[in-house]
């Protein structure tokens, strides 16, 4: 299997910012990007070699003795076989019992199956043969039948057919082997059937078994070792009137109801309510998803669209059903945020406007607007579940389990009765959920597993919702193993990136306890301590990390900075000399340390160490701990 997979990082485990670098450099990057681009286009419904007409190459045969002189011409259009379907699998079968082979074709486009009755060969002489193995396999798969006719002047012609199981593409054709003999003379049906000599080479044998002469227009079963063909009764010939599969009228009307076969955690959504209230709902923790404790319906809309309030549908029915069933209701106004961005201090809260309109429509739930990444996350959730590049038009309704996992995605107007329908799903055991995920009843041999959070993560990264992407990392590693040092380190890194420095120190402590020789864990701990302005501890930890990986330039540079901040200019100058020797005076890390040492020498107070600022890495030389110093 390929290790490289730009669309699905669920298995690569690479942290954000490394797996998703645009990497325009190499040809293989462009190759993978080409595939990614192609896949996205196809998911948008863009065509690629679509609308092609199925081909039917007629074999002209040859009147010559030289049998290699066959020729083929595509007669699809004149035969009525040139449907512009995205055709896939084809099998042959005598569907109307008239002796000739008809066609069964499956398509990607609608209609997804066509049974094509053959009128072209009507009136030709046919012979159908079935094999039954006795010594060989019972279906006689692999058996070969030779059918030979002799003309009045003694010339013989032989047709060869093999009984196969699996041929073409995804297809198994009829077990009846058919031989055609055309039609003698013009116009009228032949007065007498033709005589045909049948011989069989059974599977595993090189010898021919002779079955004597049979007559066209009939069906025969040939049993291995019997030597005589037994005639099988043929069903009455059917006259089938033309009539393709009728397309059902689309009732979609923008309304969809996607029941996830397996409810899934989602990143937390930060929401702002009226009057400055703000909070976070849903999300992942190392201990599992965060829920509201109740089934929750999140209605997503856009108040800046004047028709949006009608588009939401029957909110009064939703509200009254929710109140009766202890279901929490949350509305998220994606339009409010745009207003907010341009609002000036003292202007009325746009959410007041949302709230008024929702209330007038009968809404009985919370009124919120997204903060930050929530506005990016919500549309990606919907696109992710539909496996498409962009979400369908608003409104959307996201229905959650009490534990905070997303269970149902609806689009389009809410209708009375929808909540009851959803609650009936929740009332069933979770194991039943795959059965609810499709409107067609049937049996799962292998029900779908958990949702692929790796794909959601990739989407969020592409949208720039990096915080949410990191949160998904947390959720993912929970399923790996919480016990290992590697996981603790990852948790620590995630804490760091969220700005939870104390939490990060605790994670790295735990990691070091499990694996004292992990330079990665020690660098992480040192970095966190450094950012916490606990410089002497940071200096010690950088020193330990350096002992484990003496050649790591970033660690050396960071130790120098920590030494400056801790007031230990002696160590700092030694490190600066070493850095200069290794990297040269022009290296950014050397210049950063040199500047810090220089500043500290002039202002010998210990509070203003380089790198102790906001941690945004503004060229101060403090490098975030990487996976290692080897690259």
């Amino acid at each position: 299997m390929v290790s490289r997979s730009p669309l699905n990082e669920s298995t690569d485990g690479a942290p954000v910012g490394e797996a998703d670098s645009s990497g325009t450099g190499t040809s293989s990057d462009r190759y993978f990007e080409g595939w990614a681009d192609l896949n996205e286009r196809l998911r948008r419904g863009e065509p690629w070699s679509g609308g092609e007409r199925n081909a039917a190459f007629i074999n002209s045969g040859s009147a010559d003795v030289d049998r290699a002189d066959v020729d083929f011409v595509d007669a699809g259009p004149v035969l009525g076989l040139d449907y512009p379907d995205d055709g896939r699998s084809a099998a042959r079968m005598d569907i109307d019992f008239d002796g000739d082979d008809d066609l069964i074709v499956s398509n990607r486009t609608a209609p997804r199956v066509r049974v094509l009755a053959n009128r072209l060969a009507d009136g030709a002489e046919h012979l159908a043969v079935r094999l039954r193995g006795t010594a060989s396999n019972r279906d006689a798969v692999g058996g070969v039948v030779f059918a030979t006719t002799t003309s009045v002047d003694g010339e013989t012609e032989t047709q060869r057919r093999t009984r196969s199981a699996g041929s073409g593409y995804l297809a198994q054709s009829s077990a009846w082997l058919r031989f055609g003999f055309g039609r003698r003379g013009g116009g009228a049906r032949p007065a007498r059937a033709r005589r045909v000599k049948l011989q069989v080479r059974w599977p595993g044998s090189q010898a021919l078994e002779d079955f004597g002469e049979v007559r066209t227009g009939r069906r025969y079963v040939l049993v291995e070792g019997q030597g005589t063909a037994s005639e099988a009764s043929a069903p009455n010939r059917l006259v089938l009137s033309p009539g393709p599969l009728l397309a059902a009228p689309s009732e979609l009307d923008g309304r969809r109801r996607l029941v996830l076969p397996s409810p899934t955690s989602i990143p937390g959504l930060e929401l702002r309510g009226r009057g400055g209230r703000a909070g976070r709902v849903f999300g992942l923790t190392p201990d599992g998803p965060l829920g509201t404790g109740r089934n929750t319906v999140v209605a997503v809309w856009d108040s800046s669209d004047s028709a949006a309030i009608q588009g939401l549908g029957d909110l009064a029915a939703l509200s009254s059903s929710a109140a009766g069933a202890d279901v929490a209701l949350v509305s998220v106004d994606l339009g409010g945020q745009r207003v907010e961005a341009s609002s000036v201090a003292g202007a009325p809260d746009p959410l007041d406007f949302s709230s008024t309109r929702l209330a007038a429509a009968g809404w009985g739930g919370g009124v919120f607007a997204p903060i930050g990444e929530a506005a990016l996350i919500v549309p990606e959730l919907v696109s992710w579940r539909l496996d498409r590049a962009d979400p369908p038009p608003l409104p959307w309704f996201l229905v959650f389990e009490p534990d905070g996992r997303l269970a149902i995605v609806r689009t389009g107007a809410w209708r009375a009765g929808d909540l009851e329908a959803d609650l009936s799903v929740f009332a069933q055991p979770l194991l039943q959920r795959p059965a609810w995920s499709t409107p067609f009843p049937g049996r799962w041999a292998d029900p779908p597993g958990e949702a692929d959070l790796g794909r959601l993560r990739s989407r969020l990264v592409r949208r720039g919702a990096l915080g949410a992407a990191r949160e998904l990392e947390l959720g993912r590693i929970k399923t790996v193993s919480l016990g290992s040092a590697e996981v603790k380190i990852r948790l620590g890194r995630a804490d760091l990136e969220r700005g939870d420095l104390e939490g990060a120190v605790a994670r790295f402590d735990a990691a070091i306890e499990l694996e004292p020789s992990s330079a990665l864990a020690r660098r992480g701990r040192a970095y966190a301590l450094h950012r916490l302005a606990r410089y002497p501890e940071a200096l010690d930890e950088w020193t330990r990390a350096l002992a484990l990986e003496p050649r790591d330039i970033a660690t050396l540079g960071n130790r120098a900075l920590a030494a400056v901040a801790a007031g230990n200019l002696e160590v700092a100058r030694e490190d600066l000399n070493e850095l200069t020797r290794r990297e040269g005076v022009a290296a950014p890390v050397v210049r950063a340390v040199w500047q810090a040492v220089e500043d500290a020498s002039q202002l010998p107070s210990s509070g203003q160490g380089a790198g102790s600022g906001d941690g945004e890495d503004g060229g101060d030389g403090l490098d975030a701990p990487g996976e290692g110093g080897t690259r």
Partner: protein, 596 residues
């Protein structure tokens, strides 16, 4: 053929790396698209008014510098002079299938070259345009009944700002009560880019290259008719079949498993043993597979549920074969999660075994070791279209999933004993090549089944059986590697010499050419590699068995476009097997969908 090659070379040598998708278009392709649009507009005007220049723009298409065309014979590479007509360049070869009930007649002719006359004017050019359409009508026996279809195009710059564009065009006339005829022609257009506005025609030479006509009785009926609705009726089950893959994807959660590409096969078998063959339709995830049982009166009844065969898992393929010699048919299913084998017992279907793979394509059965028990070969496809794997290198990829040989060592009826014997049979070699199709046939007539496997991104394999069920890939020696995007394979004796021939469904046409343009990524590729890339888009391959033992590539029946499961079938009942080829990769989703 030559011009297609030139274009693909142009794509390969372009500076800009091309994406596998429809874009970006280079200049030549943009010109050819404009010319195609122009040709379609003229065709529409002709269908509507009887005059190709009778539309809105009309003779304004014709440039003031336009000249009459003098036709040359490109086959000879010379330019004819004077009053040569298209008949002169034509090699007539008419034949008809004399023994078929409804004769199909075919005439073929050579192509022409485009040479502009020195002295004539735009009026003569307009006359050439009209003459081209008249010739088509004459050949069809009346006005076309549907719009012209352009199947391929080639563009060459003339060096002075103009372009020579070659379009292959097909017209069809379906006359009620009068049979049908189709005409292929080549339209050679010289065009110039007008300073402002659309292209202008400098000259127009058309040549009819092929005429196919169906006649005879009953001429009032189409030769083939879709009777699906008549047979299956209108039920909830057929409603699912009437929905396209994209429509299903639009209303089911992604994990339900409606794959983008719609790979769902069909099987014909007497499932319930009543002597009538039934129909099993594999379906995408969320849509139960359908078992249409044939009723004695000829009708069908959907009965998958009663038999326990109503799997909702995404199903690509199925085989109904008797694995335990108890005279009923057991079931092998190719699912998105692997191969599942169900034993048919008195208690219905009982799961006997499953073999995990993430995505199975075609299945094929044969008794590989002559123990009287059918074994199963399953193609496992690693799917680059869902981003799980990408073929490396594109033209010769071997980094797919491992295909599977399931050995059958069953001893008791209904107690199937099956095991993975891929390695033991030697089939692990070249066995991870993104395989789409596999089929068994005794190619060397030694009594044991051999196995051909069609692979998507590179060479195919022909595993020759040594008689004990151990296989060796001899595709190179036998000449059937067929480096291409292989998607379907079928053996049959097509030339009636008593030996089996081989038809491989591949990818052809401009879309394929763009795929081969991925060769631009391989900037350091040598000529051998580049020719492999080009071959990738050349179309289907018909290998005829040579008396010397190997197979010879015939060059016949190649133009199947983006082909999938081409099968040999005697369409006209004359004993010569024909080839039906379902094709088309991904059509645009329905327009007017509410969300687009």
């Amino acid at each position: 053929m030559l011009s297609a090659l030139l274009l693909s070379l142009a794509g390969l040598c372009s500076q800009e790396p091309s994406l596998p998708g429809p874009d970006p278009l280079d200049g030549a392709e943009a010109i050819s698209n404009s010319v195609t649009r122009l040709a379609r507009e003229l065709d529409r005007a002709y269908l509507a008014t009887g005059d190709p220049l009778g539309g809105d723009v009309g003779e304004a298409w014709i440039d003031a510098d336009a000249r009459a065309v003098v036709v040359g014979d490109s086959a000879k590479g010379s330019s004819a002079k004077g009053d040569a007509t298209e008949e002169d360049g034509r090699a007539k070869s008419t034949w008809s299938t004399a023994t078929a009930p409804r004769p199909i007649s075919v005439a073929r002719a050579l192509d022409v070259a485009l040479v502009l006359d020195a002295s004539t004017g735009p009026e003569d050019a307009a006359e050439d345009v009209r003459a081209a359409f008249s010739a088509v009508t004459e050949a069809l026996g009346g006005r076309p009944t549907r719009a012209a279809e352009v199947s391929s195009k080639a563009v060459l710059p003339t060096g002075d700002g103009g372009w020579d564009v070659r379009l292959r065009v097909r017209h069809l006339r379906q006359a009620p009560g009068g049979g049908a005829a189709s005409v292929r022609s080549i339209w050679n257009l010289r065009v110039t880019e007008a300073p402002e506005g659309p292209l202008r025609i400098l000259g127009w030479a058309a040549a009819i290259t092929e005429r196919v006509a169906l006649a005879g009785e009953p001429a009032s009926e189409p030769a083939f008719e879709d009777v699906t609705g008549t047979l299956l009726g209108a039920t909830p089950a057929t409603a699912g079949l009437a929905e396209s893959i994209m429509d299903l994807r639009d209303r089911l959660d992604v994990d339900v498993g409606v794959g983008l590409l719609g790979h769902h096969g069909v099987a014909v078998a007497d499932v319930n043993g009543d002597g009538l063959e039934d129909l099993y339709l594999c379906q995408p995830g969320g849509v139960p597979n359908q078992l249409w049982l044939r009723l004695p009166d000829g009708g069908f009844m959907e009965a998958a549920r009663g038999g326990g065969l109503d799997l909702v898992d995404a199903t690509t393929s199925v085989l109904f074969v008797d694995l335990d010699r108890d005279a009923d048919l057991d079931v092998v299913l190719g699912l998105a999660s692997g191969v599942v084998v169900l034993a048919r017992t008195d208690q219905g279907y009982v799961e006997a075994e499953r073999f995990e793979r993430t995505g199975v394509t075609s299945l094929a059965a044969a008794d590989i070791n002559m123990d009287g028990l059918l074994d199963i070969y399953a193609c496992a496809y690693a799917n680059p279209y869902d981003g799980s794997t990408f073929p490396l290198p594109y033209h010769d990829a071997e980094n797919g999933q491992a295909n599977l040989l399931i050995a059958n060592v069953t001893e008791e009826p209904d107690q199937l004993i099956l095991g993975d014997a891929t390695v033991e049979t030697g089939l692990d070699r070249d066995g991870s090549r993104f395989s789409f199709a596999a089929t068994f046939e005794d190619v060397d007539d030694d009594g044991d089944p051999d196995l051909y496997v069609a692979n998507d991104f590179g060479r195919n394999t022909l595993y020759v059986n040594n008689g004990t069920g151990y296989f060796r890939n001899m595709a190179p020696e036998l000449g059937v590697e067929d480096v291409a995007a292989g998607m379907g394979a079928a053996f049959a004796d097509l030339d009636r010499d008593g030996r089996v021939d081989l038809y491989v469904s591949n990818m052809e046409s401009s879309a394929g050419r763009r795929i081969t343009a991925q060769g631009a990524f391989q900037s350091d590729a040598d000529e051998g590699t580049l020719s492999l890339y080009r071959r990738h888009a050349k179309g289907n391959t018909l290998f005829l068995r040579s008396p010397e033992g190997g197979f010879l590539e015939s060059g016949l029946a190649t133009a199947g476009q983006w082909a999938w499961g081409g099968i040999p079938v005697d369409l006209d009942g004359n004993g010569w097997l024909d080839l039906f080829v379902p094709n088309g990769f991904v059509s645009a989703s329905r327009r007017g969908a509410p969300d687009l």
